[in-house]
Symmetry: D3
Subunit: 190 residues, 6 copies
């Protein structure tokens, strides 16, 4: 027997997130605030901070394939090499001067890099390792868009040396041509 | 017989645009500049100007499913009701105060609207009619991202009353409940 | 702790609609009737009527990316300019003579139009504004297919002038180059 | 060196078909005629005829994911069991009475079947084996839509027993539990 | 009113299968064993056995678009002509010598076939009828991958002659150019 | 003017690769050999070798979304941490015992790991960093499938420390919490 119970009182998780009935959405399901507020770049070692506006913050983005971030940089701060497993990124410089770059796949591993100033725009194709570095003496600000409502971020150093539990040190030693003690020291830091 | 000629000297149009061999791309295929420059809002009747950064301007965006725009508004300028036939839009207010809104499909035609200030973010789902209006006394600036490298824009009034050649006036009269003379006057303006 | 409760007695909404367990579907989940019945064209001002066969009427269409409509036209009736935000449409004339057309995106706004007779077929690409007009002296009938199980319909005049609540009259006045009183009169009609 | 030659004088094949520059398309790229003309059902053994309106006939359909067919049936004619490798089909009966059916995948192989009359609509999900049979005393006519501009058709008996060159008779004998002589007779017929 | 109940204790079916909260997945959601074990080829008439590793066996595959199978063949065993309605297949021969083939769509019905030995690789495009036959004197083993987590299998003879309930014998007689008694005998066997 | 030249004698690059006219494909467009041959694991520092069977080797795979690899491991060899920017991977152990693992996205960076023996199967979701390590005393062999005809590979250490030209050492020093001299030594090695 197949009995339909109208789901008036439960939320279903699609992509791990709540999907509302279209008839009860309001303007607040398509809205968030605060992208004018600088992220705190003093709380980590790399001098940058990413403020994320994805489907976790705007429920109405679910299934629509787009999201935004603001990235703040202290002088000489970096957004460390990372990938988005499910998105291409396009950014524009709101303030400051940055060196940006990405690296192509094997076996070329070409480093495509450029210095960007205010109003410049750059693209990081889906899944490729990329970074930004503030090379000016002041704070820098970037707005970037990603081609997924849930793009994901893999910060390479953290995922490799800060995985929980640790990846076996002998694997990383061989992969990075480091000795195991150095690997273990790195793992202790991340 | 099937003869392969290596296409060293021609460009193939994919989606109507040139696709380069990946091995010869450079940083300039992923780059453009000028998004810090305010568009001229004095050249049209609606007091706004959209600066588009899509695949036509950054060849490396082709097939990657994302693009950017900057929109400038004179005081009380509007970005007239329009759709993007192939993209969802997410915008953030860089400067100013805007009323924004979109209208849901038939038969509800719900008007989802909100006043946005600096740092606020709003989403316009794919294909729905939407607009922005500067409701402040100064210029306003928006950065928006779209979920296609070639999202397209259909400005409703222009497409309806400014189609070339004209849509028959009796159709528009009936659709908009206007008399045919009014329609013809509108068509003369667009 | 992760506890699996078999969902024997609830229906989950996918795309806002019920998805059945494949093992309990029957022929009736893939079926509907009544597309031979002319829609009533006398109940509205435009002299046409669209009978929709989408996933709301055939549950088995969910995720399959296709649906049908029948459109009936009184003599000189129109299917007013509209878009489908999520579908291309292909139609064939079962009976009668119609003028049909669509308008391309900015900035060309080319009006692609043709007179169609019985057995003629025409395509309206995804998201573009299009219309049909019966230009014969008898009723006309069309069968059309859409490339989504839930294509959506945005009747331009209704969404613009009949949004609920109203779009601010000054926005529409500026967009359509009408005075605000005319806009308010239009809004009162829709 | 990378030299761009504008392709003013060549057509590029996308999906094996010509793609025009959007700026030079005309209404005839979105049009065909003749779907009111009954196909000749007397030229084959199964008493049916499919008139196809796909991207091969309407160039503007390319990439848009939809197409149409008209199917004519002599009394007791059948549209033999077949699949569309790249499309779901939805049909409506214009005239006549048909038995239609599809078979679900292994291991159930459920036969989902129904008798349809004028105005009835039925769905055949992508890739499943399906058929139609005119069970009335007059001709029958169907209009069907498919969720691809190039859906493909695999008539099961023809592909199995009429492949060119033949599939080895011992394979078909084992698969269909026939003796090899019967298989060879069948292969001679197709 | 819209009340969110966190679904801590229920599993939602996506594509008819359970989707776990990403935070509670473990290595066992991405794992299965046993693909080294030969399937029993003696339990059916065709002398082959397919061991399937799809989303039904590895829950973590859901939405990821890939799966594996192992196929064992007795000497002269066949994997009877079949299609995968939602996947392309690529296989490699682990052991033995097989003839493989697929048939292209109407109207060519070209039979693309080749004899494969250990280490050879072959592709069967999505939705096309294909088969494998062990033409050696020993057992043969194949590993194949499919481009869907839930590709489906339609064994042609079983779906046609073993559908439940039967497809009407007169339809199959006409389609396969057999007499109805032969069809009924076949239906009795499947 | 629009002139069609039939492209009888040129090959068009789709995704950077040649696409043949479907009417002239042969069995060799869907075939390759050699996956039974062990890759040479002695030519690099990590003791593994990947033999790739993608669209570059089988032209008929283009657009079909799947490919295969064989991976050979010397005793204690590793397939160093890497990502596939456009594919999920599913592997099965043909011979040997391996530890495998992947790391989830920020901010959890969970290390999902398992020891696999012959016949075991494991999944690495799209874009996530993963590795395999032979933990046995003999050679090990893996067959893996990827959900793209052109999945790409980014070996993390090579892309980070072996990019060409180098990524600035101060960026990598900060990202990996190494001193710049260590970074430069690493860059010299890769």
């Amino acid at each position: 027997m197949y009995l339909t119970i109208y789901l008036l009182h439960v939320s279903v998780l699609i992509n791990g997130l709540v999907c509302k009935d279209p008839k009860v959405v309001t303007e607040n399901d398509f809205f968030t605030s605060g992208l004018n507020v600088a992220g705190d770049t003093s709380k980590n070692l790399v001098g940058s901070n990413v403020t994320t506006v994805n489907v976790g913050r705007i429920p109405g983005l679910n299934t629509l394939g787009i999201s935004l971030v603001r990235i703040d940089f202290a002088p000489w701060g970096i957004n460390a090499p990372h990938t988005h497993p499910r998105a291409t990124e396009i950014l524009t410089i709101i303030k400051g001067t940055l060196r940006v770059g990405f690296v192509t796949s094997n076996t070329e591993n070409r480093h495509i890099t450029k210095v960007l100033n205010e109003g410049d725009v750059f693209v990081f194709p889906e899944g490729l390792i990329h970074y930004q570095q503030n090379i000016g003496h002041d704070n820098a600000v970037v707005i970037a868009a990603l081609s997924s409502q849930n793009p994901g971020v893999i910060t390479i150093a953290n995922a490799v040396f800060g995985a929980n539990p640790d990846i076996s040190a002998d694997i990383l030693a061989k992969a990075f041509q480091l000795n195991e003690n150095t690997v273990k020291q790195l793992q202790a830091r991340f």
